[in-house]
């Protein structure tokens, strides 16, 4: 072996050993820095992609857009009214809980975020959103849409975060089934992807006998995901030797969502 190659191999091995010695915390800091470094490219790529899509949509007729605009304004007013009512109910609920000396339920703040990149890996289901530590985001915060649960934040940089989707095998969510006392754990299978999600609800009792269409919500156990967020619907129930297992169709279409909300805080 030529001397220069031997020196290169030695330096290479030393550097790799140094990287192997990184703690998970240091690795995450390094990942966040790299994510911050690549984020301008991802943001620009995303806006370019949106411009192209926007150009195509711009071909729509003006009267169609006008009708759509009117419809959206009506929906916005309705949602504002509903939100005000719910805020009042939340305040009243907390007041009553206080009167009964229960712990006050935390009210969460939702930060809207836009998806700027979808997962580019074969074995992990992630997306990247345009909000990060500058907006108060930290790792392990739930991400959802108006339809249901999306996932949780993992690596967070200044203006960008990586979100691990519910359909990934690594993202387990404690769940309950509507109208039953059944509790279990929802997670993706190893072959599950954002485009073809495959969720299972494990650790159910063998007698659960869930019916297709029954809704599955997060139970709030574990501390990451708030209780009562829709995860999906039961597709099929089967009994295995030790437990009951249900296949779940996610409420959110991971391949088409463009905007999400990141749940921060628990500020009162």
């Amino acid at each position: 072996m030529r001397q220069i190659n031997a020196i290169a191999v030695a330096i290479f091995l030393v550097l790799v050993v140094v990287l192997f010695a990184f703690t998970p915390r240091n690795t995450q800091v390094m990942q966040a820095r790299f994510l911050g470094l690549i984020s301008p490219l991802l943001r620009n790529g995303s806006s370019l992609q949106k411009q192209i899509v926007g150009f195509r949509e711009g071909m729509k007729k003006l009267n169609e857009l006008d009708a759509e605009n009117k419809q959206l304004r009506i929906e916005l007013s309705e949602l504002k009214a509903t939100d005000q009512t719910l805020q009042g109910l939340a305040a009243e609920n907390n007041q009553l809980r206080r009167a009964l000396q229960y712990r006050e339920r935390s009210t969460f703040k939702l930060i809207p975020a836009r998806i700027i990149a979808r997962d580019a890996s074969t074995w992990w289901s992630t997306i990247k959103v345009d909000r990060g530590s500058n907006d108060g985001i930290v790792p392990d915060q739930p991400v959802l849409t108006e339809d249901g649960l999306v996932g949780k934040t993992t690596v967070v940089a200044g203006g960008i975060s990586t979100v691990l989707l519910v359909c990934d095998e690594n993202c387990g969510v404690a769940a309950t089934v509507e109208g039953t006392l059944e509790r279990g754990l929802v997670r993706g299978t190893r072959t599950s992807t954002a485009a073809e999600p495959d969720l299972t609800l494990n650790f159910l009792s063998k007698e659960a006998n869930l019916k297709p269409g029954e809704r599955v919500f997060s139970s709030g156990v574990g501390g990451v995901f708030p209780a009562g967020v829709l995860i999906g619907e039961v597709k099929k129930f089967r009994v295995e030797p030790l437990e009951g297992v249900a296949s779940v169709v996610p409420a959110v279409d991971f391949s088409t969502i463009e905007d999400v909300f990141i749940v921060t805080g628990g500020a009162k």
């Binding site: 290169a8 990287l19 990184f22 074969t122 992630t126």
Partner: protein, 181 residues
Amino acid sequence: MIYIYLLLAEFFSLAAQEYIPPLPYGARILLLPLVFFYAALAVPPAGMLFLAFTAGFMWDALVATQRVDGNLEISLGWSIILYAALGAIMSGFRPLFQRGHGWEIHCLLSGPLLCVFVLSEYLMITFRRGGFYFPKLIWWRIGGEGLAAMIVSPFIFLLLHWVALSFGLIPPREEREAAQL
């Protein structure tokens, strides 16, 4: 200069592959490994190791190192080892590249080497998560990515090679052949 060029190509390809939609059943078109395989042909073995380090580091930082309950699923550094091992195989065919057989070598080897890369990643997560689970879908993803790499590789090779020759970053074929003799 060739190293800066290839380093930038690795960086941009990593960002670009985020926007390529998946193939059916979840197989992906991975650009960074293809750029690295070109680099392994274009530069000597010592330089290949430098570029394996940068490619593996970027891959781990953005794609492969996932945090699960406070721990890392795959430690930082494994992708670097994988890139270096596959780059060493590619580097063995460098004399053919010097003689002008560039894109054929790149195309023929990219598929199998990418399959080995993706399979190694899968074995690592299988070891970590438990359960030896190999349905047909997994084999399709591994094979499909290899096949996609072979289809895309001539375009990647020709683009990178054309830019490198245009800016004089690598000598023309005649000079490379003469240098070998």
